[in-house]
Symmetry: C2
Subunit: 273 residues, 2 copies
């Protein structure tokens, strides 16, 4: 850590769009003193169907932008970018960079009783097998069943979370997984917690559902403490929101899920970074 | 027109992704002598939920790329970009630029018997009211009912075109329109022709469905003849395909809808243009 980064410096949090707000919400709850700069890449959303090369390039641009805000740590609040870009950008960045996959995998390994874990996510996240690799590093005996559910993100974004169409899509994607012995399922995409109640209803009480946001905020807390950079100023936290497109739409969505009034979101041209 | 552009110079065709291939297919069919350079902006797809400013910026970058291929004319094979960017980029470009909305509107005005026309498209296309404005310029008495159907593009892209979920989505979006008197419907998004049979089945025989691709290719033919730049070389046409991401996936999709073997698609970094 460089000495010129103050403890009051913000934490940078980024996602392909609005999904990462479920992670930001958990950070605000668990670390109420930490200032946050959030970036949503709404001009290039979604990431889940795009290639590793482009996800790495997008992540580098966003980290360069967050560095102009003098962030003291970065949270990749996007499963796809955590799966495809975390290893690469961690090596290139001089502040701690935390993804959502390690925390989610750890929580699942703690929760499961029979070692059979399901993971749902985007095509890119599941194809990368990053969850499987991290779970096996924690418990080589665990059995991991992954399933890409590419329609879930547009269903959430278009407001169908409570609709019958979503029930049809859950049945389409998850009927095979329902007939397995999994007792724990990771919601491996930051949009999916918004479908939690419908997924719970489909699987019934016997399954434990893991939302990596909670453990990610705990990881961030530990990293800030370990590096001696937690904010102990006693000054109430401030939050800033940036997007690459459609700032007003983002503000509206943010206000529907954050326990905090988002007054404005600023639009920037991320391709300049 | 500049004199240094040869009649054998290619026509540039672009879209946010794969949808515009339904327009390229029609150009290849109607203008078999014309060389085509196709660009699909797969790194930033979809356009339909993004802002006018970004759609104009994306379109300018793509036109600069196509100009490096020395194109003699450009077809914007994307309804969203035609609705939001055509007027702007036409003024800035020294070759003919043709969109899909004028041709689609003209076909609908020709087809309708009662003057009641429905338009389905992305949120951005419908909100712009470009179809309504163009239809009214042709027939001020026409009544136009627009409906955004944002789930249709992901349903096509994820392979649900023939699935029951798509029937549910059609009913969700179009039940209001079904109870109106429209006798003609414009498929105002290049993905939607792939849902044509399901939409036809929902509305029944009495409705006429307009796919703007056919009229767009006719417009291109007229423009090339008017400018004296139609290709009369007698040499068989060649086709080149470029994307901003995931070239292999694009090639596979292209081969499923073009009557022509797409051997390779090249990936470029569109942000450099």
């Amino acid at each position: 850590m460089e000495n010129n980064r103050e403890n009051t410096a913000p934490v940078g949090v980024f996602d392909s769009g609005v999904g990462g707000l479920t992670v930001a919400r958990e950070i605000m709850r668990q670390l109420p003193m930490e200032n946050v700069v959030y970036f949503g890449d709404t001009a290039r959303v979604p990431y889940g169907s795009k290639s590793r090369d482009n996800i790495i390039r997008f992540s580098r641009q966003i980290i360069r932008f967050l560095e102009t805000k003098n962030v003291k740590a970065i949270v990749i609040a996007c499963n796809t970018a955590s799966a495809l870009a975390l290893d690469t950008v961690q090596k290139e960045t001089d502040v701690p960079v935390i993804g959502v996959i390690g925390p989610g995998a750890r929580a699942a390994v703690k929760e499961t009783r029979n070692g059979q874990i399901g993971v749902v996510g985007t095509e890119a996240t599941i194809q990368s097998e990053t969850y499987t690799k991290v779970i096996h590093s924690l418990n080589p005996e665990a059995s991991v069943i992954g399933k890409p559910c590419p329609l879930f993100v547009p269903l959430v974004e278009e407001g169908f979370a409570k609709h019958k169409i979503t029930e049809e899509a859950i049945d389409f994607y998850l009927s095979d997984m329902k007939s397995t012995q999994i007792d724990t399922m990771i919601l491996g995409c930051t949009h999916y917690p918004l479908l939690r109640s419908k997924i719970m209803a489909y699987f019934g009480e016997e399954i434990h559902i893991v939302n990596p946001a909670y453990e990610t905020a705990m990881d961030l807390k530990a990293a800030l403490n370990d590096c001696g950079i937690a904010n102990q100023s006693g000054i109430p936290a401030t939050y800033e929101f940036y997007v690459s497109d459609a700032a007003q739409k983002f503000t509206k969505f943010a206000n529907s899920i954050l326990p905090y009034d988002v007054a404005t979101t600023k639009q920037i041209n991320i391709e300049e970074y």
